[in-house]
Amino acid sequence: MSRSQLLKGTTSLLVLGVLREGELYGYEIASRIRERSGSFIDPGEGWLYPALHRLETAGALEASWRESGIGPPRRYYRLTQTGMRMLDAEAREWESFARSVRLVAGGTADA
């Protein structure tokens, strides 16, 4: 399975995960995911903005434009209470899924 296919099922989790620490704008979110994953997850940003807008319309994120010290104004995203609950639920789901995959693949349940 390609990384981009794996990414499709985890975009919400990745975006919500990096936003747990505070407000970020789109490019920062992509950079943060790339850095945290040791550049393992770096498929390009075509997926990012649709995911951000989907989460925003679902009420998981709030967005606001703000001037930045360097460069153009940026659209900052912030996690809402709904987003927090969604993150917890998706993280639990991912953990269960990953554990199950490891068990099936012949390993142990522990990472």
Binding site: E45, R54, G71
Partner: protein, 424 residues
């Protein structure tokens, strides 16, 4: 939107914008965000040693094809809440479009009539003849309404598409079908009033006016200069045409005639015994499409043995007020097109069907009266109304009348067709 330093980025954003079905403000919001991302991404690749051109190309490549990005952004922003907002905004656009377009259409029609009516009158003065306007108040109102629903269609699709997050091509199928069906319903059973064949034709064309508008949907301001000129040009053709086609329109009025061609088909002449006892206080009156007729009988005993007293309305030909000698019973009429009840009034009481005042009658007299609805036949412009009854010998006689009254169909377009189907 932050400026990109090369045209490739602008072209990318323009392609994304073209694929987004939202309103301008929402599009701008999305494009500003993407432009900001491209600027950051390009800076990063430049700092890693790429040239500006290479850096921007790389940044654009990482966002993928612009049309796919537009499609995914569109899907991401579609929600059921947007559909509700689209329904609300669409309704408002339709109502305001109808009002604005109607007023605009009315203004153009009235303005055009100011120009054409004196012209037509001048031509008639110079060359003789007569003229009348086919575009009566109803037709004028309906034509203006046609402009109104056209403008509503024009506005509705673009508003609904932008609010719901669908392209105009997809939204117009829904708005055309839904709006067209609603307007068709209104045209058939919602609009009620005095109708001519021209009014019915305009009414039935209203869904098409809306459909054309909805299909040609535009977010541009209405009315554009080109549009104004089109309307004005159209009206300058339609109004004079209406004036010419409407030459010799019927006037309103009523009266009575002792004899006219075809009267024998209504019934046998009033028997002398009955005629001798009738008072001069007889006549016809009209009110809201109902013709009432009455006569005073000084000696009610003359109608002993009579049965089936009723008011009959027969289709006439000719035009009231033009030349009474041309008025006659329609040669094709084989029976009344409408029948109503007739009866003797109770002294001191005014029955619902009469136009009489209920004034005291001479001792021993009775008033025989009745009424009939004459505004439900599309082909009747002149009605001959009479009280008839079956005499003791089994023949139907005319007891009072016939009197004529001008009429016009009054009802909905559905009533119009029902009347035609029923042969009224």
């Amino acid at each position: 939107m932050p400026e990109l330093e090369v045209n490739r980025g602008e072209a990318f954003l323009r392609q994304v914008a073209d694929g987004l079905p939202f309103d301008e403000a929402e599009k701008l919001d999305i494009l500003r965000e993407l432009a900001s991302h491209l600027a950051d991404s390009t800076s990063r690749f430049e700092s890693e040693g790429l040239t500006l051109d290479e850096a921007e190309k790389r940044a654009l490549d990482r966002l993928g094809p612009p049309d796919r990005l537009a499609v995914e952004l569109t899907h991401a922003r579609r929600t059921p809440r947007r559909l509700l907002a689209a329904a609300g905004a669409g309704t408002w656009a339709a109502v305001s479009g109808v009002v604005y377009g109607y007023l605009f259409g009315l203004l153009v029609l009235v303005g055009a009539s100011f120009v054409t009516i004196p012209l037509a009158a001048g031509v008639v003065r110079l060359f003789g003849g007569s003229w009348g306007s086919l575009l009566d108040n109803t037709a004028t109102t309906l034509l203006a309404l046609g402009v109104g629903v056209y403008v509503a269609g024009l506005k509705v699709t673009s508003v609904v598409a932008a609010r719901a997050g669908y392209h105009v091509r997809a939204a117009r199928r829904v708005t055309t079908a839904l709006g067209g069906a609603l307007i068709a319903g209104y045209a058939l059973v919602g609009w009620s009033g005095i109708l001519t064949w021209l009014d019915v034709a305009i009414l039935l064309s209203l869904p098409a006016w809306f459909g054309v508008g909805a299909w040609r949907s535009t977010a541009a301001a209405f009315p554009s200069r080109r549009w104004r000129l089109k309307i004005l040009g159209l009206m300058l053709v339609v109004v004079p045409l209406g004036l010419v086609l409407g030459a010799g329109q019927a006037q309103q009025g009523g009266g009575s005639m002792a004899w006219f061609p075809g009267v024998e088909r209504i019934g046998l002449p009033t028997p002398p015994a009955v005629m001798a006892t009738q008072d001069v206080e007889s006549g016809i009156g009209g009110r809201g499409g109902i013709a009432s007729i009455s006569t005073v009988i000084r000696d009610p005993a003359v109608l002993a043995g009579w049965s089936d007293l009723r008011v009959e309305a027969w289709r006439g030909t000719g035009a009231v007020g033009i030349d009474p000698s041309l008025m006659a019973l329609d040669p094709a009429a084989r029976g009344p097109f409408a029948v109503g009840p007739a009866g003797f009034e109770t002294p001191g009481q005014i029955p619902p069907w009469t136009w009489s005042t209920g004034d005291a009658l001479p001792d021993g007299s009775v008033r025989l009266s009745g009424s009939v609805r004459i505004d439900r036949s599309p082909s009747a412009t002149l009605a001959w109304v009479a009280i008839t009854g079956v005499g003791p010998d089994g023949h139907r006689y005319i007891i009072s009348g016939p009197s004529y009254d001008s009429t016009a169909f009054n009802g909905t377009a559905w009533d119009w067709f029902a009347a035609i189907v029923e042969g009224r």
